[in-house]
Symmetry: C2
Subunit: 156 residues, 2 copies
């Protein structure tokens, strides 16, 4: 209970939408669209209502971009995947607002569960891709076998 104002630096500078978007390789339009879909909310707004993004926003945007580009998820699926974390995001404020360790633990544990859900989903996708690789490998082997056979029958 000592030391009242526990809200010091946040250390990272806040970025405006174009800066933030460029930082993670997106367009401002996309970022606004993602917000419209409820995928994220800027950490703050300026006096004149400019969107302001912090480092955790950038992480989130990078994650979204990864899910979209690398994993090929639709924004609806991403929304689904981040749904839990979106609820936690509301807790994020609560996390910094409360000093109650029990509350903080609850929030952190939910977050861990969310991460586990995400890795699970990603691993499932990896599994399906691996199956496709195996399939293709098998087809390659079959072709190699036929090549060998032909070479046996008609050596050049």
């Amino acid at each position: 209970m000592t030391d009242a104002g526990v809200r010091p630096a946040e250390s990272t500078r806040l970025l405006r939408i174009h800066e933030a978007a460029a930082e993670v390789g997106l367009t401002a339009r996309s970022v606004r669209y993602y917000e419209e879909l409820g995928l994220l909310k800027p950490a703050a707004r300026s006096e004149g209502d400019y969107r302001l993004y912090d480092e955790s926003d950038l992480e989130r945007l990078r994650f979204i971009k990864g899910l979209r580009d690398d994993a090929g998820f639709s924004l609806a699926e991403i929304s689904q995947l981040l749904e839990d974390e979106a609820a936690r995001e509301r807790d994020h404020v609560a996390y910094h607002a409360t000093a109650d360790p029990r509350e903080r633990l609850r929030i952190l544990r939910d977050r861990v569960a969310s991460f586990e859900q995400q890795t699970q989903t990603l691993r499932t996708k990896i599994g399906r891709l691996q199956a496709m690789v195996d399939e293709t490998e098998a087809r390659r082997q079959r072709s190699l076998a036929r090549i060998a056979e032909i070479e046996r029958q008609a050596p050049e």
Copy 2:
């Protein structure tokens, strides 16, 4: 030059578009659209111009569907990925048309190269997904560490 009509059994029954589509979990419209994009061509057409698909067509359709659903590739990317094989597909006819072992070897070798290209692309994608998994795992670990720390400082 002996034996004019060399087109005997093909063994597998030919399916019409709805049957083929249902078999691989697609719609007839999608299959026609894929043909329009040049992703495949039915093995044959009936007297009255009905599309007729054989087993290799189904394999191809399943592969396309896998690339679309599991890998999340766009149809343009899939087209790119199958491009080589599409050229080989034209060779497919040639393969059965020729009895020349040297020509058959060339076709088979090209096919092997195409398979290797495909697995390479898929493995790259798997790598990016794995990186995301690692990232998420790291974040989970960090949360776990903070949980442990809080539990040390304020044991319930």
